[in-house]
């Protein structure tokens, strides 16, 4: 009987997830998915009985979490897409309790954020906001969803120290979220570097260390060399690109001016 087998596999899956044996999890997952196919419950239809739906959702959620721990964003995205029809079911058909919907969605938002896909992030957020407004529950109470939202806001404002604070382990809502911290810190470091180039004429190495959230001065020198900053007498000097930019600017603009004027002439000819 496929149902019993599936329940068995699920129990094993939970155990393997706790013992961090992901190799085993993946093999178990494919068995679970096969069982789901036998039950015809991998994609919810009107006739799928409720226990099957619950089992299917559980399997897919475990799959999503496993792929996040294995740092496999593509497979996570796939699981997330597969879960969508389940989350869209009304509460009468599939009760919301026991579901990790907000955790998975929060993780997906974070994934979009770390990819820099802001359009996708806001598209999803708009949908969540609409659903939340309809059920009367605000998104504000949902710690899993609020976390990426707070991060996005801080990133857009430029308050990078807040992003840094959020990625500390005690602020992260669950351990899976912590896996993104590394990517995020890399992102903000790059952002800070490009901001510093424009904002400071020069910077002492010691200050740069705290600005860039690096551990040692050696790391700063290493980082500076990577992006081509000049380190001299304990200070970082940023390469001046302005002169270069300005001369190019004139060339570009004269081209466009000529182009525009010719365009006007052509248009005038058609009108007169």
């Amino acid at each position: 009987m496929a149902e019993n087998e599936l329940k068995n596999v699920l129990q094993q899956l939970h155990r393997s997830l706790q013992s961090h044996d992901y190799q085993q999890s993946t093999t178990l997952l494919s068995r679970a998915k096969l069982a789901l196919l036998h039950l015809n419950a991998l994609i919810p239809s009107e006739k799928t009985p409720r226990p099957h739906l619950q089992l299917a959702r559980e399997t897919l959620e475990i799959g999503a979490i496993t792929s996040i721990r294995l740092k496999d964003p593509e497979s996570f995205t796939r699981y997330f897409q597969q879960l969508q029809p389940f989350y869209a079911l009304p509460a009468e058909v599939l009760p919301k309790d026991g579901s990790n919907a907000s955790k998975i969605t929060g993780l997906y938002l974070l994934l979009l954020l770390s990819d820099g896909d802001y359009a996708g992030f806001h598209t999803l957020l708009e949908m969540l906001e609409m659903v939340a407004a309809q059920t009367g529950k605000g998104l504000e109470d949902d710690a899993f969803i609020q976390y990426p939202i707070r991060l996005e806001r801080a990133l857009m404002e430029g308050a990078y120290d807040r992003v840094w604070g959020e990625t500390k382990s005690e602020r992260v809502p669950s351990e899976e979220f912590g896996l993104f911290s590394e990517v995020l810190i890399g992102t903000i470091r790059k952002e800070i570097a490009s901001c510093s180039e424009k904002a400071y004429p020069s910077l002492p190495i010691d200050d740069a260390k705290s600005l860039l959230f690096l551990d040692s001065e050696g790391a700063v020198v290493e980082f500076a060399r990577e992006i081509g900053w000049v380190v001299k007498d304990g200070r970082i000097y940023f390469p001046a690109q302005e002169e270069d930019l300005r001369s190019r600017d004139i060339l570009v603009s004269s081209d466009t001016v000529i182009e525009h004027t010719l365009g006007y002439a052509r248009q005038l000819e058609t009108i007169v």
Binding site: A88, P90, Y118, A119, H122, T123, L125, E126, M127, E129, M130, V131, A133, Q134, R153, M156, E157, G158, A159, Y160, D161, R162, E191, I192, S194, C195, S196, E197, K198, A199, Y200, P201, L203, P204, D207, L211, D249, S253, T256, V257, H260, Y264, Q267, I271
Partner: protein, 505 residues
């Protein structure tokens, strides 16, 4: 949002119901002539005129009027008539009463065996849709509309395109009102997507641009109602909006497109679309809802782009009251008052939710901070980070430093930071006329004027075969000239005579 598609209907008590009824029936029947002419001459203008009169007929529609029209138009045994009468939901006695009233005319019509055109059927059906919608009979309306659109699709007549577009419009409107209402995923709105997409496909294949435009906007509205922005975006990417679509459809399409782009953070594109949408929206009072909705969105998008909307926008009589929360919002953003901004968002949260602008407005926070920094950099040549932090109500000095650094990189302000001493030093503002800015602004305006000119030329209508008439005229003129020349040559029209007139000079 639901009021954006429909004008507000007010029920007014008419002084003499008998007369009004007679007149309405006559009006509707005179529209049939227009429809017949449209079919005969293959000119949609007549159909459009018949459709346009719906808005004035609408207030006077009731079941008796509709029943009279049907009884007078069809022979008693007609199957279509039966379906239409059933849809009005009148009891048998009332129908008998109407039949008795028009007995003479019906007898006269008996000799005339010809069945009315399908266009007339559909026109009456649309009137019934309007009537059912105004009576809030949404269930029945939805069912009737489903039958209607199926029939229209089967008929496949090019003279029916404008009517079909209207039928689809009400079809979707009825489903929108059914429970559970969107944005619930169980809304009946989701289930009609298949039908609408099929309609879109056939419309494209049949080069039926009216229906194509109408169904595209309906689908976009449908997707946006349940916040399926990705699908809406894909639809826009995969389809081509017909260039010859009526103005109202174009305005709607641009509005939805602007909405999608705003959510996807492409503010420039969103701004372009929304500006055109507001300009294309009707100037009379009929579509005030649409104008308000698109203006609201446009204001938020302008704010997100870092622009401050014109003060005059808010004092237009049909916008003034609706835009009040937005006006306060703009004021807060303009002075960079972060606390005031958060307070306004909190106070009007429900309004913004209803307008569907809430998430967009939440994104404004960073703009408020940027404006605040810009104000500070304009007023002080040197200011400490501590003061910036206090003035803008930020959490820490470190935050302030990063935020200012980002503002400098994004080109919001011209300044430099001094980390050791902890202050921001403003650079001397350069001469704006030495940059490309004025040239770009100039180019933008010229571009707008030129495209306006092009659109005007495209919008002009040339009567069919007119050039032949002109050719004929020219030919005649030439002939006359030749004759004249000949006569002059012959000396018949004498120069003396011609010159004689000028003697007095």
């Amino acid at each position: 949002m639901s009021d954006t598609m429909e004008g507000v209907v007010t029920e007014a008590e008419q002084p003499t119901p008998e007369n009004v009824e007679q007149k309405t029936v006559a009006d509707i029947r005179s529209n049939f002539t227009l429809l017949e002419r449209a079919v005969a001459q293959f000119d949609t203008r007549f159909t459009l005129r018949a459709l346009r009169s719906i808005s004035s007929l609408r207030k006077r529609l009731d079941e008796r009027v509709l029943c009279s029209v049907i009884v007078l138009t069809y022979s008693p045994s007609n199957a279509t008539a039966r379906v239409l009468i059933e849809a009005i939901n009148m009891d048998g006695k009332a129908i008998q009463g109407v039949v008795a009233q028009y007995k003479e005319e019906i007898d006269q019509n008996k000799g005339n065996k010809q069945d009315p055109l399908p266009e007339v059927d559909v026109y009456i059906a649309i009137l019934i849709q309007v009537y059912l919608y105004d009576q809030k009979e949404y269930e029945e309306g939805a069912e009737f509309s489903t039958q209607l659109v199926d029939k229209v699709r089967e008929l496949n007549r090019r003279t029916m395109d404008t009517l079909a577009a209207k039928a689809y419009f009400y079809f979707s409107l009825f489903h929108e009102e059914l429970d559970p209402k969107p944005p619930s995923k169980q809304s009946p709105l989701v289930s009609i997507r298949g039908r609408l997409l099929a309609a879109l496909r056939s419309a494209v294949l049949r080069k039926d641009q009216e229906t194509q435009a109408s169904v595209t906007t309906l689908l976009l509205r449908n997707y946006l109602a349940t916040a399926d922005i990705t699908q809406a975006d894909l639809l826009v990417a995969q389809t081509q909006f017909p260039a010859t679509a009526p103005n109202n459809q174009v305005a709607r399409y641009l509005y939805y497109l602007g909405r999608i782009r705003a959510i996807q953070l492409s503010y420039t594109e969103a701004h372009e679309n929304l500006t055109s949408a507001t300009r294309k929206s009707p100037t009379s009072t009929v579509a005030a809802g649409f104008y308000q909705a698109s203006m609201k969105l446009l204001i938020v998008v302008e704010l997100l782009m870092g622009d401050i909307p014109d003060r005059a926008t808010f004092s237009q009589p049909r916008l003034e009251r609706a835009l009040e929360p937005y006006f306060k919002l703009v004021q807060a953003v303009r002075v960079g008052d972060l606390q005031g901004f958060l307070k306004i968002v909190q106070t009007y949260a429900s309004t913004f939710h209803r307008d569907g602008t809430y998430t967009l407005i939440l994104r404004l926070r960073q703009n408020v901070i940027k404006t605040g920094i810009r104000m500070l950099s304009l007023s002080y040549s040197r200011i400490s980070l501590r003061d910036i932090c206090v003035r803008l109500g930020l959490e820490s000095e470190e935050s302030a430093e990063y935020i200012v650094a980002k503002a400098i990189r994004d080109g919001v302000i011209e300044a430099a930071l001094d980390h050791e001493n902890g202050f921001m030093q403003t650079k001397q503002a350069g001469d704006i006329y030495a940059t490309r800015e004025p040239g770009e602004a100039f180019h933008e305006r010229i571009q707008a004027c030129l495209s306006l000119h092009d659109e005007c030329v495209k919008a002009m209508r040339y009567p069919m075969n007119q050039h032949r008439l002109e050719l004929k005229n020219a030919q005649e003129a030439r002939e006359r000239e030749r004759e004249l020349a000949k006569e002059i040559q012959d000396g018949d029209i004498d120069e003396d005579d011609a010159a004689g007139d000028f003697d007095g000079l």
